[in-house]
């Protein structure tokens, strides 16, 4: 088809905007790369100073040069997995309710309320956790203390919810109305339409929602530092949720302020940061691969 002639000036503008957007896209990748290089530069010396067997150990006593990362990595994974196990079903169900079932006026109220939840500062959530959630956890579970992984899990689930709901709701919204009409035309019920048609079509968007929720949970610092007890024990065994746990983020936040710059402990904290980066990256990569593999089957908006 013949492309209609465009005035030269507009053409030039188009070019500039295109380049600007390209520059922004490239610089986002560049920044991630720079962060990674910075972590390697600051954490690298630790790999020379501390034997690998020490870093692979199960005890974290930085004051005495015992730098086992395992309890920290497992601690972060435990609270994140727990938080997602709660917030994924709750979040997707809420998104379905808002997007598919609720009448217009309910939706108009619910959406801003959920966005307000996202705006509550994490230190405030932590304070509520200390004063209310932690005593409740102690009383109901009979754990020796209320400052446990489970307390952290509840609060992180609460904090990941708004992210999951908003993005899952966007994904449902992006499923073409014709899909629903087709399902109804085949005499599917409302539930069958949601479960068999709309949710599968929105699958990539929902996975993105969960990934951002994971990012929120694994990266959260202040709240877990306040309520999870920060004991660097190996969170293995059935009672791990009812025991305190120390996450990678809380470790960095609690210790970075006091270490002597350039000391071994300082470099090891960057190794912790590197481990956090790699774990997050691996989770996102796994999710992206799932999306790419199934992309052809879905009609949801691609958000990743």
């Amino acid at each position: 088809m013949e492309i209609p002639a465009v005035p030269k000036e507009v053409d030039w503008r188009e070019f500039a905007v295109e380049q600007l957007i390209r520059l922004m896209g490239v610089s986002a990748i560049g920044l991630v790369l720079l962060i990674f290089l910075f972590l390697i530069k600051e954490g690298g010396p630790a790999l020379l100073e501390v034997p690998l067997s020490n870093l692979m150990g199960q005890r974290w006593y930085p004051t005495f040069d015992i730098y086992g990362l395992a309890p920290l990595i497992l601690g972060s994974l435990l609270v994140t997995a727990g938080a997602i196990a709660i917030s994924l079903p709750l979040g997707v169900a809420t998104a379905v309710f808002i997007g598919e079932i609720a009448p217009e006026w309910v939706r108009e109220i619910l959406k801003p309320v959920i966005e307000i939840i996202a705006g509550i500062p994490s230190v405030v959530v932590g304070f509520i956790g200390l004063q209310i959630v932690s005593p409740l956890v102690r009383e109901f579970t009979g754990a020796p203390t209320g400052l446990t992984a489970l307390t952290g899990v509840f609060l992180l689930a609460y904090m990941a919810l708004p992210t999951i709901i908003s993005i899952a709701e966007d994904a449902l919204d992006a499923v073409p109305q014709s899909y629903r009409n087709a399902a109804y035309a085949l005499s599917a019920t409302e539930w069958q339409t949601i479960w068999r048609v709309v949710l599968p079509a929105a699958r990539p968007g929902i996975i993105t929602a969960v990934m951002l929720g994971v990012g929120r949970a694994i990266g959260e610092t202040m709240t877990v530092m306040m309520v999870a007890g920060n004991a660097a024990r190996m969170p293995l065994g059935l009672d791990a949720l009812l025991r305190p746990v120390r996450t990678m983020t809380a470790t960095i936040a609690a210790e970075m302020g006091e270490v002597a710059r350039g000391s071994t402990h300082y470099h090891v904290l960057f190794v912790v940061g590197l481990a956090l980066f790699i774990v997050t990256f691996a989770i996102n990569l796994a999710a992206a691969m799932t999306i790419f593999r199934r992309e052809r089957g879905g009609g949801g908006r691609f958000l990743a």
Partner: protein, 295 residues
């Protein structure tokens, strides 16, 4: 509780801004020359340092003292970097910090400005009233895990400790958990809760009947119960107080330090002299710390 700390963090920069803005004044009006002393360091001492700074500013309006917490290590690092005039520390400088200072051609000078008793605190509902240092050591190292073993109810013991970067943590580890024995390699139990502030330790101890914690006497509230402590199981068991620290009978007390680069001169010397004077030491007592004997 926590609020006090948050307010502190909010208030200190505000105070600092206030001083700075006062200091600038209008260029036309003659402003009396103003001296600012920067003071960074120990979280244990931050309320004390703030009280000194405020009172001193009232007495000498031409002097401004900006106070920031962050921890003993932060203060000493700032002193070595030259970003603070005086550093507060609840522990002595470590040898590596001294080396770093000397490498930069500095001679840090240590001043003892107050004393602090470390109280061992439990929930008021706990019936235990006295513990010996060997017992406290066994508790915090994880060798005793039930209150029954030290004469209490059949309840698990929950340990509430400061974070490992705290001067109080290091002091308690060396003097109590390791019983002042340099050959001991005892550590805090890995089950110990490492809590980011005195307020959260206080909250956990006040609300959890299983908990035991330790903190500076100035941070103990009526919702916590202090334990009488003895050096050995034979006693005597002594409660922490100003008197028992001064007469040396309470076994877990430490000095609080201020470090300067070289012997202080001018305004800084005047300020430090005022701190150890009767007036400065009266503030020490008001905030629950222990004034220097003979002051």
């Amino acid at each position: 509780m926590l609020l006090r700390r948050c307010l502190g963090y909010f208030f200190i920069p505000c105070l600092f801004l206030l001083f700075v803005s006062c200091g600038q004044g209008g260029p036309t009006e003659p402003v009396p020359s103003r001296t600012t002393i920067v003071n960074v360091g120990s979280d244990t001492m931050v309320n004390l340092a703030l009280a000194w700074a405020e009172t001193y500013h009232e007495l000498h309006p031409e002097m401004s003292i900006s106070v920031t917490g962050g921890g003993s290590g932060t203060g000493i690092a700032a002193l070595i970097n030259g970003s603070t005039d005086i550093a507060n520390a609840s522990r002595e400088m470590k040898s590596e910090e001294l080396e770093e200072a000397e490498r930069r051609g500095m001679t840090p000078v240590e001043h003892i400005v107050a004393l602090d008793a470390i109280a061992v605190v439990i929930n008021p509902r706990n019936s235990v009233a006295e513990l010996s240092i060997p017992q406290i050591s066994d508790i915090f190292a994880g060798r005793i895990t039930n209150w029954r073993e030290v004469g209490g109810e059949d309840r698990p013991i929950v340990l509430a400790s400061r974070e490992s970067n705290s001067g109080t943590y290091v002091y308690f580890l060396e003097k109590v958990v390791r019983r002042d024995d340099p050959n001991s390699s005892d550590l805090f139990s890995p089950e110990a809760l490492l809590l980011p502030s005195s307020e959260i330790i206080g909250l956990e101890v006040a609300t959890n009947p299983n908990a035991i914690g330790y903190d500076g006497l100035g941070y103990v509230t009526p919702k916590q119960k202090t334990v009488r402590v003895a050096r050995t199981s034979a006693g005597p068991f002594v409660p922490p107080s100003i008197d028992t620290v001064n007469d040396g009978t309470y076994p877990v007390a430490r000095p609080l330090y201020v470090y300067t680069v070289g012997e202080p001169t001018g305004a800084i010397r005047d300020y430090l002299e005022w701190i150890v004077s009767d007036e400065g030491q009266r503030i020490v007592a008001e905030l629950g710390f222990v004034p220097l004997a003979g002051a």
